[in-house]
Assembly symmetry: C2
Homo-oligomer: 368 residues x 2
């Protein structure tokens, strides 16, 4: 029976042996019974299996387990369960890789990815710029005015703050109409089309409708917090007939990034969210107001853009306190296939948002 | 403007002051901008606010922040975002309480709860027993046969293993029909009605259908892994017109239980899942194959059953390696409003599952 593989970084705690711990993972994530009460057919077929163990430190090991294709059968929620269901409750087990080649068909991957986004935006090589509309409490008119300022300054992507949903201050439909109009008006003035990406994050039963509304109202993409709505919901959107790119926001996802548990940074944002259909993955950049290391950020970029993975490439989108004045330095480190997401740094510009956006564009187009 | 409160346990890291960190939480979870760029209306209304700070240890503090009711407006996904969206990415911040009284109307709470389940089962006072059908790979006939053995032995609740979904080995509809028939046949033989709870966990667009199918096919409840499907999906089921209790499984939830991050054990399983509609909350018992402390387990029970919270009470359901021989001891500790979930311990009984179930019933009915 065909199998797929998951790779873990395993840390043995006091009293644990790697043999028992590795076998424990394979059984916990499949049959949930000790080998002694399994019949031969189950042992040979649906039980998880330890494929390899390699020591990497005093207490740490790379472990590879395999699972029956039939234990998932293309159900992505069940895939997440095999990936980290019960072992999310056990310390010292971190998922770091999956052999996507074997199970490519289960996943949508990004509909557009780096190449598709570049074609639609008409920007071939340089990094992209992005900002967020905020704060929560602004009216539709205030948010549309911000959108117009960002867009006339030349910012590429303008998204809602992820905390702006459908509150009374600026309801979704009214806001989307107004901000779409703002980027159109800016284009008529400057000739440059910025994208507006409304935040569609909401309950599962409404989510697809809101995705479709975003398209119908003329938005060029959407913002979604996949861990808030359930990760498979993103895959459902990416596989639907609505033709918009998805920018994924990390709200409610940080707890999966344990030092020795959960997912590695690169796996969660660069691999898993890519497989589940994110065209952009936002993550908190090193040196901002969150706590990712430079290596973790580089790892996310590498995984999101890895050409060996059988999905379209995803745009890494570092943000969370990114300073507009440091763009050249980050470009040097991260390369051109990157989106710089700036918030406060543009809002605080002494000459205003339009001037700040124009400065950013000039830097990205190498005009300064 | 009306506000609601969230309580955090905050740990200051080197170089952090509690004043800055507490204000950082309030702003991050609302307006996501520094105070300096906010206008007076935003500051007074939609910006989060630090209400109180109390030092509890050298580096730890109880912090209470308040947020505008209008920042959520009844959208539960947005509630989760205010609760732990961006601060899930920051170390040393753990959510430990919410003032449910202020925002009761947003949440369904358990449809049945402890009282409703007891009425429907016809069991007034004693703890309930539960087991799981497994392993993955068994056919429908094999799983139905197990169900019949558990039920004729007198087990109260028989649920699918959470890894059994809709795989080819035992597809959902076929399996549900057969296991419902098995508990009926057992009732005809013994006079005691056991409940069969199929696992409905799957993608958002199919979930409500599967919930309804479970009811149409005669199941007495369902199993759901809320963190796999997105927590608000559980609330949607609990608020729907399908009249079945929901047993919530902790798969994919463990990473939210950081030592100083995420949610406290009691808050996640006892409070949050209760508000979102779980009639039962499964958690790994102390001393089993997972790693919860006795205090953490007692905390979950206390929160799930707290009569001061404005929702029906939720049945705590400890499992994960619970030994049938230790039931009297756990009953002494946990009281009668509890469900003992046993798997391997019943499967390994030398005289088989029916005998094991009968022994458990005798213990719970004080006949031994």
């Amino acid at each position: 029976m065909e199998r797929f593989r998951i790779e873990y970084l395993v840390t043995c705690l006091d009293g644990e042996t790697i043999q028992n711990k590795a076998l424990g993972i394979a059984l916990e994530q499949s049959v949930e019974l000790p080998t002694s009460v399994l019949n031969d057919w189950i042992k040979e077929n649906t039980a998880g299996r330890v494929e390899s163990v390699e020591q990497t430190g005093e207490k740490t090991y790379l472990v590879e387990c395999s699972y029956a294709i039939s234990s998932v059968d293309g159900d992505l929620t069940q895939f997440l369960n095999v990936l980290l269901g019960n072992i999310s409750l056990k310390p010292g087990i971190q998922v770091i890789n999956v052999d996507w080649e074997t199970i490519t068909d289960w996943f949508p991957g990004p509909r557009f990815g780096v190449e598709g986004v570049r074609i639609n935006l008409g920007i071939q090589e340089r990094p992209l710029s992005c900002s967020a509309l905020k704060p929560l409490g602004y009216s539709v008119d205030q948010l549309a005015d911000l959108t117009f300022q960002f867009a006339t300054g030349g910012l590429d992507l303008i998204k809602d703050d992820h905390g702006i949903a459908d509150q009374r201050h600026a309801p979704f439909i009214h806001r989307t109409k107004a901000c779409v109009e703002a980027v159109r008006n800016a284009r008529d003035l400057t000739g440059k089309q910025s994208w507006y990406l409304p935040n569609i994050t909401t309950k599962g039963s409404k989510l697809m409708d809101r995705f479709r509304q975003a398209e119908d109202l003329g938005a060029q993409g959407v913002l979604l917090s996949p861990q808030l709505v359930g990760l498979e919901m993103m895959a459902e959107l990416a596989a639907s007939d609505v033709n918009l790119p998805i920018m994924a926001h990390p709200a409610f996802s940080g707890n999966y990034l344990g030092a020795a548990d959960g997912f590695s940074h690169s796996f969660l944002y660069g691999s898993l969210w890519r497989a589940f259909g994110a065209d952009f993955v936002i993550y908190p950049n090193h040196g901002g107001r969150f706590s990712f290391s430079l290596d973790e950020c580089l790892g996310i970029n590498q995984a999101a853009l890895d050409p060996m993975v059988p999905f379209a490439r995803t745009f890494p989108t570092p943000g969370g306190g990114l300073d507009r004045n440091r763009i050249p330095e980050w470009r040097e480190r991260y390369g051109n296939d990157i989106v710089f997401l700036m918030g406060g740094s543009l809002y605080k510009h002494p000459e205003g948002i339009k001037a700040a956006s124009a400065e950013v564009l000039a830097v990205l187009e190498n005009r300064v």
